[in-house]
């Protein structure tokens, strides 16, 4: 129960705050010099930051930032990656060869490095963060969908569709992608978690979302300067970030077990 309900609740909260948070009267940029670094109390659960801004308000707007960025990045990467990967496997030949080489080159950049380089060179801002993370993100989906389509394209129903004269696009979208949806959904779930971390990481480095717009990453960075006097500035956004990432990862785990027929039968 704990393994499903706890992450589902956190994810739902994140989703709701991101979509409907603006219905609250939030003032994340409101500077109140008399409240600088005030710790949490009964009225203001999360306290105030170094400019006397409400951490609660900033946390909710930060949730919106991370939600929008991660959904945008995962959706775009999924579409680009799956199109390239499945087309490559289906067409084969020199095209497939070329795609595999390109994927290899992108995979040679460890982790967040390429995103750091791209965001650093293109300059900060939400759109550049999304672009940078998509450039990194499509590769995983392309590799996965290519591998899946490779094993599926010789199945009888695909051969039958080819014999019936169906076009490439039709075969890929009607006969192949539905079959590889399950692993893609699992991959997409884990991708959400890593994009949330990556966006916060870029913002932590000052290469992502620009002030005054709150991002959990830049909130943590601001907090590190006041850790001795106001540890809540680091703790609040960090706990939020960790809870969301942990929940998404747990949901991904559950989803994988559930979608994997072999393990489902056993339990």
């Amino acid at each position: 129960m704990m393994r499903l309900w706890f992450p589902a609740a956190i994810f739902f909260l994140w989703f709701v705050l991101a979509l409907f948070g603006s219905l609250f009267a939030l003032s994340p940029d409101h500077i109140e010099l008399s409240r600088i670094l005030l710790p949490p109390d009964a009225n203001e659960w999360f306290g105030y930051d170094d400019l006397g801004r409400s951490l609660w308000d900033r946390l909710i707007v930060g949730a919106q930032t991370s939600f929008i960025v991660s959904m945008a990045v995962v959706t775009i990467s999924l579409i680009i990656g799956v199109s390239i990967g499945s087309l490559s496997a289906f067409v084969g030949g020199w095209f497939d060869h070329m795609v595999v080489r390109i994927i290899d080159i992108f995979l040679a950049f460890p982790g967040i490095l390429l995103a750091i380089a791209l965001a650093g060179l293109m300059g900060p801002g939400v759109d550049n963060v999304v672009i940078a993370l998509c450039v990194v993100g499509w590769v995983g989906f392309a590799r996965l969908s290519r591998a899946q389509v490779m094993t599926l394209k010789n199945r009888d129903h695909v051969q039958a569709a080819i014999a019936l004269g169906a076009g490439r696009t039709r075969i890929i979208f009607k006969h192949l992608i539905p079959l590889i949806a399950a692993p893609l959904i699992v991959e997409a779930t884990f991708a959400i978690a890593s994009v949330v971390i990556a966006e916060a990481g870029l913002s932590f480095l000052g290469l992502g979302i620009q002030p005054p717009t709150p991002s959990w990453g830049s909130m943590i960075r601001d907090g590190t300067r006041y850790m001795l006097v106001a540890p809540h500035m680091v703790l609040v956004p960090g706990i939020a970030l960790m809870l969301v990432v942990l929940s998404v990862n747990l949901l991904g785990d559950r989803l994988r077990d559930w979608l994997d027929v072999r393990t489902r039968d056993r339990t």
Binding site: I102, P110, M122, G201, F204, G217, T224, V234
Partner: protein, 309 residues
């Protein structure tokens, strides 16, 4: 084996070439005129032209690419725009710090992951197992840039046991290494558990038990040894993530390595230095991965003798 070796080296060379090309084109991603961005809007046209000529940006792109590769082959990466020093020298100064940090992170990961993974596999489906697996999920979900400040808060500021940042002796590497190693430890522990469980179902384990070996000897000599192959591959692959994570860890702890050089260079718009750092880290990753593949092949006779193909 020779065929495998050759094909692996050839594809590594190709990837190195591709990565170098991609890094070369990075500078053309800078919006507008990179020279103007580097010097600022108020710069004199004469200065701009001078820098443009110094960077070779006034030449046709193909000539630029050839010059760039010519420089790479001679280990000449140009000069920093900021300090005017040869970039190769700057990288050489920073490599030891990053290498030390990565090695320490690796040690932390191995020291945590092996006992955890083995314990989880041995006590499968008990509270020990789920505890270990929950810890590892936790480790994957804590980003470096939060784990670092958290450790500083507890061990440096509240308890006063360890230094906050900088590089002064053994005590100053403990927190950065923990920060860097935790995520890898988490992934590694899961992998060790999974492969060990798989291996423990094999016939030779039953044989080892049947001939009266202690459970400890069965696990250590027969189980773990055979579970090592996928673990080594994973280690090689994850070393990239470790290098990437080292960048952020270096920022958190003011650790004077390549990561900090990269971010400083980005902030100073010293783009040639940025390019060089990115190139260095990704090429290191390619080399490590290729070596991992070769070690894997060398350790597994099925691949070495060509049966695995």
């Amino acid at each position: 084996m020779l065929n495998f070796l050759l094909s692996r080296l050839l594809s590594a060379l190709f990837v190195i070439f591709g990565v170098s090309c991609l890094v070369f084109f990075l500078i053309h991603l800078v919006p507008g005129d990179p020279v103007e961005v580097m010097l600022g809007e108020s710069s004199q046209p004469a200065d701009r032209e001078a820098l443009r000529a110094a960077l070779g940006l006034d030449q046709p792109i193909l000539v630029q690419l050839l010059n760039y590769f010519n420089g790479l082959l001679h280990f000449d990466l140009g000069e920093s725009l900021h300090s005017k020093r040869p970039i190769v020298d700057m990288l050489m100064e920073r490599i030891p710090a990053t290498a030390t940090l990565a090695a320490a992170g690796l040690v932390v990961a191995i020291v945590i992951a092996f006992p955890l993974g083995i314990m989880a596999a041995m006590k499968k489906d008990t509270a020990w197992d789920s505890g270990a697996m929950f810890f590892s999920l936790f480790g994957i979900s804590i980003p470096n840039f939060w784990m670092g400040p958290l450790l500083i808060l507890f061990f440096s500021l509240w308890l006063g046991w360890l230094p906050v940042s900088g590089q002064s002796g053994f005590s100053s590497i403990i927190l950065p290494a923990l920060t860097l190693g935790t995520a890898l430890a988490a992934i590694l522990a899961r992998m060790i558990r999974a492969t060990l469980l798989e291996v423990m179902g094999e016939d030779y384990i039953r044989t080892a038990r049947a001939k009266g070996l202690s459970e400890r000897a069965v696990i250590m000599n027969h189980g773990l040894k055979n579970a090592m192959l996928p673990v080594i591959t994973l280690l090689g692959l994850q070393l990239g993530a470790l290098l990437g994570g080292a960048m952020i860890t270096e920022i958190v702890f003011s650790w004077p390595g390549i990561g900090q050089l990269t971010i400083d260079a980005i902030n100073r718009r010293d783009y040639p230095v940025v390019q060089a750092c990115i190139l260095l880290i990704s090429l290191t990753y390619v080399v490590v991965n290729t070596l991992t593949d070769l070690v894997y092949a060398w350790m597994d006779p099925r691949i070495r003798l060509g049966e695995g193909k």
